[in-house]
């Protein structure tokens, strides 16, 4: 069963066709990778799915519900959360507070209840804090809970972003180059982590340039080039696909 279905999605910037007529599905409980050369339109596709950009044409269905045209926070509310290629942790907030923002969609205190610090909001705050600490524990970051998030080492910032997205308890997680800037050991750990997240029942759609990571963990791979889908298959088949090889070798030539 498909948790995400993208149909004929297109988006251009001025004269540049960043994503053109892309269709694919993501199976529930799987890891699907999205690869392609720089500028292929991968991040743009993520932005279209998560509500940061509006498609020119086409549709995005999440659990058979239309989500294109929704605002990012509405998409998040439906159970789809994401990380960013360029880390976007909240400045001047601790790691724990960053993760606690992830619990936002699972809590309810609004302006009035917050202003009067009602007993139920106090209980809710406590629950948010405990659940966030659990998640930090799961990812091995609990020692850094009170450090300012943007002061962490780069690799830890990537994990903190992942933790924040996980705190939303999403059904589908979009990861935009989670291993970018990580060393080999960290990349391997990230791969394990992503596999564990899938095993928890969370579907993952991942953009990544690190081929060993992609080939190892993904169930299926889509290849994008100049905004168009040129392949969509299991890893073994992708490795043999001549079109894909041409695109990647062509890139090396340049």
């Amino acid at each position: 069963m498909a948790i995400l279905e993208v149909r004929d999605l297109s988006r251009s910037f001025g004269g540049l066709q960043a994503v053109f007529n892309v269709s694919f599905t993501v199976k529930n409980g799987s890891i699907k990778a999205l690869i392609g050369p720089n500028g292929a339109g991968k991040t743009t596709l993520f932005n279209l799915i998560s509500g940061f950009l509006k498609p020119d044409t086409g549709s995005v269905l999440f659990n058979n519900q239309k989500i294109h045209g929704l605002k990012p926070y509405q998409v998040a509310g439906k159970g789809l959360s994401r990380t960013f290629q360029h880390i976007k942790l909240f400045h001047k907030m601790t790691v724990l507070e960053n993760i606690m923002i992830g619990r936002h969609i699972h809590s309810k205190a609004e302006f009035i209840s917050g202003m009067f610090n009602l007993p139920w909001t106090q209980r809710e705050e406590k629950a948010i804090r405990e659940r966030s600490l659990e998640i930090l524990n799961f990812l091995g970051l609990s020692e850094m809970a009170d450090a300012e998030a943007t002061s962490l080492a780069y690799g830890q910032q990537r994990i903190a972003e992942l933790a924040r997205a996980l705190a939303c308890e999403p059904k589908l997680l979009l990861l935009d180059e989670p291993a970018a800037g990580l060393n080999m050991r960290e990349t391997a750990e990230m791969a394990k982590l992503i596999a564990r997240i899938r095993d928890m029942g969370i579907t993952v759609l991942i953009v990544e340039h690190d081929m060993s990571l992609v080939m190892n963990i993904s169930d299926e791979i889509i290849v994008l080039s100049y905004g168009q889908k040129i392949a969509d298959d299991i890893p073994l088949a992708i490795q043999k696909n001549s079109e894909v090889i041409r695109v990647y070798l062509g890139e090396e030539d340049a």
């Binding site: 940061f52 926070y73 909240f90 936002h104 917050g114 705050e125």
Partner: protein
């Protein structure tokens, strides 16, 4: 966490009482007048602190909201509605007890709004204006946001300055006192100076508690996340547009309430309350207080307003605030209370000697 918050409030309450007792025993009770006014100005400042420091949205137009509150309540409580008493709407208001008869200075009968009705109308109007302009204004960022709010402030200023009914350059005077409860009235009259000092500070303390609760709640955290990385906040499910708008409206409400009360306390309001310089001054104080620091904003709000109202800055009043703004932003953008002066100064000298070496 919670305990610390209440201890701080307790400290504030003791300080308020201690200051009053001090002025009583040293026979310096006249200072209470400026302390009362500073308290009302501080309401604008702590509201603005929530908006700028926590939600990260600058406003250079909050004097506009202060003026809307002050002017509307001043107008409704001084303008004679007697000539319109046959008007359907006015007679309806009159029958519902929202209007009151009063003798004017010359002994004639005039029909004016009850201060409570005027107050509610004024704050409501400010809130509506904030909602209407807040929607499109808060979509803007950086310079665009600054200029749009500045533009709003100037529009309010030009309107009160150019409107005869608002007294044009003279403003509105003879605003009556505001009877909050039987026996408790907001007025500048000397015999009730001490009571008014406490009234103002009770209002400030209540507002402080509300805001402290808010910033320590889920909403406060969401606001800080908007400041920290708005996109990411949205991706985490925070309705950033709504939260920014609510905060803007809340801070506008604080400013208008301050405008209403201070106008009754002073017995009038003039166009300078709506001026750009006032808006800038509020921002300056928030900056000195440390941006995301409600206590800093309150302390600096009281201190700087008090010094300014007592005339310590003389004719250099505006220059002092301009200078404060620059110095703080150059050397201690995190605010005075966490001053990192030494490092910035060193950085500046290194830079200068650096560029000298190069040439």
């Amino acid at each position: 966490m919670g305990h610390q918050r209440y201890l701080q409030i307790l400290g504030l309450i003791s300080a308020v009482i201690a200051v009053q007792l001090f002025t009583y025993y040293t026979d310096t009770g006249h200072h209470l007048t400026q302390l009362t006014m500073s308290a009302y100005y501080s309401l604008v400042i702590i509201g603005l602190c929530l908006l700028i420091g926590y939600a990260g949205q600058i406003s250079l137009g909050h004097a506009g909201f202060f003026a809307i509150g002050g002017y509307i309540s001043a107008f409704l409580t001084t303008h004679n509605f007697l000539p319109y008493k046959d008007n359907y709407f006015i007679s309806f208001l009159s029958k519902s007890g929202l209007l009151a008869s009063r003798e004017d200075l010359y002994g004639g009968q005039i029909l004016i709004f009850h201060p409570w009705a005027a107050c509610i109308a004024a704050v409501l109007f400010a809130v509506i204006v904030a909602y209407l302009i807040g929607g499109p204004v808060l979509k803007l960022k950086g310079h665009y946001l600054a200029m749009a709010t500045l533009g709003f402030g100037i529009i309010v200023y030009k309107i009160v300055l150019g409107t005869e009914k608002f007294g044009a350059a003279d403003g509105i005077s003879d605003v009556p006192s505001f009877v909050l409860l039987p026996g408790v009235e907001i007025t500048g009259k000397l015999p009730v100076r001490i009571m008014n000092y406490y009234v103002a500070w009770v209002i400030v303390i209540i507002c402080m508690i509300i805001l402290l609760n808010l910033i320590n709640s889920r909403i406060g955290r969401a606001l800080r996340s908007i400041h920290g990385a708005e996109d990411a906040s949205n991706a985490m499910g925070v309705n950033t547009a709504k939260y920014k708008l609510n905060t803007f409206v809340l801070s506008a409400a604080f400013a208008s309430v301050a405008g209403v009360f201070l106008t009754h306390y002073n017995g009038g309001i003039g166009p300078s309350e709506a001026s750009v310089m006032k808006s800038v001054r509020y921002v300056a104080i928030v900056a000195v207080g440390g941006m995301a620091n409600l206590w800093g904003a309150l302390i600096m709000g009281v201190l700087l307003n008090f010094l300014s109202l007592r005339g310590y800055f003389g004719t250099y009043d505006d220059a002092v605030f301009g200078g404060i703004l620059i110095l703080i932003m150059l050397f201690a953008p995190e605010g005075l209370l966490r001053i990192d002066l030494f490092r910035s100064l060193k950085g500046m000298f290194l830079k200068i000697s650096d560029s000298k070496e190069k040439t």
